[in-house]
Amino acid sequence: MAANITASAVVEKIRGQAPATWMAGTSEGFECGDGNVNVTGIVTVWTPTIQSLQKAISLKHNLIISMEPPFWRENGTVKTEVSMGAPTTKVLEANSVYQFKKKLIDDNGLVVWRFNENYKALPSNPRLNALARTLGYKDQNTQATQKLASLSAAVYTIPEVSLMDLAKKARDSANAKALRVLGEPGEKVKSVALMPGYVTDADIMAMVHDKNVDAIVCGEACEWEAFEYAEDWITAGWGKGMIMLGRAVSEDPGAQELATWMRSFISDVPVSGIAVGEPFSYIPSHKA
């Protein structure tokens, strides 16, 4: 590759595309490697799994742009994720998986740059729009969505469908084999609040306040917070269902869209979007 562009220069180019929304003091930065490294190719990915790093190595791409940090914990003072208690640095550094992954990154000279808050704030909103496109939701209800500018979420009007068929379509189009559903399968759904990623009960309150939403489609919800809120919302007769796609599959389309977007202003090196897919190996079929 004859190109000569450093990792820092790539970050500057990204920043230059979104000057109006760019925020300082975020969780973002170089997690591994160094901004002075010459970039041979770029991989965009939701979370830099070992398999996605191996893929990057096979593509000879050395810059990884990911929304999540590589070692499953946020080391900086700015936290964007909910953690249920990470191990200490000492415990983590003694861990065999940490060592395996660290060696893979170091031996192959990979650079990992975390892109999170400013990615979520991009005016083109790849995180939301790419997931909506994957799921086939087209008609954004702008009136319902307007108030939610701070969330990468929107309400979509869809042709009436049963909750069961909505779930099947989501499973097939997002390859979300482990998705989980709350609500009566036969209920009819005409409007969907789409919320990629992890949602809090406050996020859901903001989305369903006007009672114009039949179903929530999200990535992940805590089973004593947003999940319970949805449960009560359904009991109240205000909502009909919630589909939890799984965190990874709700983020994959956005991460791939990021590569497409970057190719519009980076031609020096190849940019590849990688979908990690769901981490779950199988769902033992079971009915109580």
């Binding site: 070992i50 998986v97 395996f100 004593w224 917070e225 009560d232 009991t235 109240a236 109580a288």
Partner: protein, 290 residues
């Protein structure tokens, strides 16, 4: 409208001041006990497990001085559980988990939420009371959650004598352990990371914590978790396997993995209040998969 924390608590528990005054007032000799009087007796009986400073183990809705007709014990005081308790004439709901959808319960912006107002109105209109018992229950010995789970799973016989949440199995496969779990756990939601053919000789219950899961997976062949964060614990599990380890993670649902303890609670309660009617109301997570 801005509501201060103090006003908010007053709104949620319609008569906090009355509750404080009521504590000093003697009960009518032959009248039913109030919820507050019952909690006083429960906390005394819990002994060293009781932590009066716990923000979790407090009244959540209703007037603590309300006379108790009958009691519902449940895993989670969902709106559905509260309604089913009311239909059965059980006006005191003893729940293990939150009522207002966060661990802290009274966390903004809940005070302005229409669903919160609806639920609160239902509790107040029907003269119900909701009290949470979480930290103290987990501190009792033997620990009631693991005791109940082992009984339910039939894993008592495999539990280590000094660590009841860790099991040594006769050598078997992950497939077999997973089916033992799913056959005994009433939920549509069990997700597995790992290969069904892998050998499993040991397992441990890891709850919600990422660090507990890391530690459990280092020491044992399989872990059983309920309600973990996917970006940390599930992604660690995926990487663990990609690094070459043949480990199995069974991820159940929060309710189905923990609620049996509240099924056992009435027997304990009945020793303290032999004449008060108490019933377990299943929370039933109603999750389904395709």
């Amino acid at each position: 409208m801005h509501i201060s924390r103090r006003q908010f608590n007053k709104l949620a528990m319609t008569s906090c001041a009355f509750a404080a005054a009521g504590a000093a007032r003697p009960a009518f000799a032959d009248g039913p006990m109030t919820a507050q009087q019952m909690v006083d007796k429960i906390s005394t009986a819990m002994g060293p497990a009781w932590n009066p400073a716990s923000y979790r183990d407090t009244f959540k809705m209703g007037d603590p001085n309300t006379p108790v007709n009958a009691v519902a014990s449940c895993f989670m005081s969902t709106f559905d559980v509260i309604k089913r308790a009311h239909a059965k004439g059980l006006n005191f709901v003893i729940t293990h988990e939150p009522t207002m959808w966060t661990d802290q319960d009274f966390l903004p912006p809940v005070e302005n939420d229409p669903l919160f107002k609806l639920k609160l109105e239902y509790v107040n209109d029907n003269k119900m009371i909701v009290w949470r018992t979480h930290d103290s229950l987990h501190k009792m010995r033997p620990e009631p959650m693991i005791t109940a789970e082992n009984k339910k799973l039939g894993w008592d016989k495999y539990a280590l004598p000094d660590d009841a949440k860790t099991y040594k199995f006769p050598p078997t496969t992950a497939r077999d352990i997973v089916s033992q779990y799913t056959e005994n756990v009433p939920t549509g939601s069990v997700r597995v990371i790992g290969d069904p053919s892998w050998a499993v000789k040991s397992a441990t219950q890891c709850g919600h914590g990422f660090s507990q899961n890391v530690e459990g997976l280092e020491k044992y062949d399989a872990t059983v978790s309920i309600e973990v964060r996917e970006w940390e614990t599930c992604e660690y599990g995926r990487d663990l396997i990609a690094s070459g380890a043949k480990k199995t993670m069974i991820i159940g649902s929060h309710e189905s993995g923990e609620e049996n303890m509240m099924k056992d609670f009435p027997a304990w309660f009945q020793q303290l209040f032999p004449t008060t009617h108490i019933e377990f109301i299943p929370t039933t997570d109603r999750l389904w998969t395709l």
